[in-house]
């Protein structure tokens, strides 16, 4: 089947959304596991950061892959949303939504907010153009532990990250279940509980991320 058909097909484009969404989801899970090393203290997360940087050439492959995934996900997300909007030019005066969720119907907004957050997050921790100044450890490795703790002591940063992860919760709570439906891995047995599983997965992920700024801000666990 030519790629030409795949990128115009109603199902083909959803498969792109699902494939790239799956990659991003996998990244989010891996990222959370990495972040949790902060609970091992400064040595824990700084060692994790050092190991990551030792993978340097491979790290770039991952980064470019992620960039491509985000790009395609955003592109098809916008195209699909515009097409779906134009399929109902005259709105209902009254409309009920007995099954669909608010999270599902606002994927484009949660998505665009996430894109904004990703930009902010890269400026903050990757390029370090915003946020408190931090010391360098031997060579050009920043003291990642201090960088995180100093940022999240500030209410502005802590709140922004908590808000962004709430948005992530909404996006994943619909997106995770959608992955299975779009890729055809769903039937009458899995349908009833996939929605609940999706919300549970989203809660666990968001809570994992949120715990870090919250505990740091209130000076609990991480001093």
């Amino acid at each position: 089947m030519p790629l030409k058909h795949l990128i115009r097909s109603a199902v083909g484009r959803k498969l792109f959304m699902a494939a790239t969404g799956f990659i991003l989801f996998g990244f989010v899970v891996a990222h959370l596991l990495g972040n949790l090393s902060i609970y091992l203290g400064a040595d824990g997360i700084n060692a994790y950061a050092r190991h990551l940087h030792q993978l340097e050439p491979l790290l770039w492959v991952f980064r470019l892959g992620l960039l491509a995934a985000v790009g395609l996900h955003v592109l098809f997300g916008i195209i699909l949303t515009l097409e779906n909007r134009s399929a109902r030019p005259v709105a209902y005066k009254r409309k009920k939504h007995p099954r669909s969720s608010l999270a599902g119907r606002t994927m484009i907004y949660s998505g665009l907010l996430l894109a904004t957050f990703i930009g902010l997050h890269l400026l903050h921790f990757t390029f370090r153009t915003i946020g408190p100044q931090i010391e360098m450890l031997n060579g050009d490795m920043p003291n990642v532990f201090r960088m995180i703790v100093d940022s999240f002591r500030q209410a502005g940063y802590a709140l922004t990250y908590v808000a962004a992860m709430t948005v992530l919760f909404f996006h994943i709570s619909h997106g995770f279940a959608s992955l299975f439906q779009t890729s055809g891995i769903n039937n009458e047995v899995t349908l009833p509980w996939l929605g609940r599983l999706s919300r549970t997965v989203a809660i666990i992920l968001a809570a994992g991320f949120v715990s870090i700024p919250v505990l740091i801000f209130f000076g609990l666990v991480i001093k």
Binding site: S86, K93, R99, G184, N186, E188
Partner: protein, 252 residues
């Protein structure tokens, strides 16, 4: 009982249309929704007002012609029930009822609550059939079909082509309708032969006709008077993935 109706009035496809408010008085709870509309229309005719145009045919829930969005629910508040089978006992004295047509770019309003659903016929023409060679009539049981497959195919075949799934979908997608046909035919040996081409041509025709894409919202399943399950949409997606390696020729 007495009700206040807010009914969509639109003179023709080009007209902008607006809601008009009418009183429905002395309505029996045993009337069907369409009988209530008949009573209201008689009253309008007596007042010299053009009666409300609405689609209906069998009035027994099998033809798929009746089509009204009642208080935001295609086919009204009762699950798995067409408008013609909906009864006034589902409402209370004094209720306000909003009645609108199916709203979709692919279903232009002809008049009031009547929309043109021929886009769905064209979806069927795009692949919702099995090609049968001419010749003698085959023996009814010559092709054996496992009972489970026959039953699943029958579940999908329950679709009456009413378009409520499109009306309910936040994206105006016809995916449940297409999936019911793709799912039904792909389950049967007679339909299997053309399964790969069918899923491509039907979903392509869906976009060409101006329907939206599926975002897995499932409002369609809630609105469907025949309770067609969205598991058929998952099956459609599976059929599409299986069609990928086969190579798909554009229209022949």
């Amino acid at each position: 009982m007495d009700l206040t109706l807010h009914v969509w009035r639109q003179k023709g496809p080009k007209d902008k249309g607006k809601l008009a408010t009418y009183k429905a008085t002395d309505i029996s709870p045993d009337m069907s929704f369409l009988e209530m509309m008949d009573v209201v229309n008689e009253g309008l005719i007596k007042q010299g007002i053009e009666p409300v145009a609405f689609d209906h045919d069998c009035r027994e829930g099998i033809c798929g012609t009746c089509s009204q969005v009642i208080n935001g629910d295609p086919h009204g508040p009762q699950a798995k029930t067409t408008v013609c089978q909906l009864h006034m006992r589902q409402f209370k004295d004094g209720d306000e009822i909003y009645i609108e047509p199916w709203r979709s770019r692919a279903f232009p309003v002809i008049r009031d609550l009547v929309v043109d659903r021929s886009a769905m016929d064209r979806l069927i023409q795009a692949g919702g059939y099995v090609s049968v060679s001419t010749g003698g009539v085959p023996d009814a049981n010559a092709i054996l079909i496992p009972k489970d497959d026959a039953e699943t195919a029958m579940d999908a075949a329950e679709c009456i082509g009413c378009g409520a799934c499109v009306a309910a979908c936040p994206n105006g997608s016809a995916m449940l309708f297409v999936a019911s046909k793709v799912g039904q035919l792909a389950k049967l040996p007679q339909g299997r032969a053309e399964a790969a081409r069918r899923v491509c041509t039907m979903t392509d025709a869906m976009i060409e006709e101006g329907f939206g894409n599926c975002s897995n919202h499932y409002d369609c399943e809630a609105a469907c008077p025949k309770g067609i399950s969205v598991k058929f949409i998952a099956q459609l997606n599976r059929e599409y993935i299986m069609a990928l390696p086969k190579g798909y020729k554009e229209k022949e």
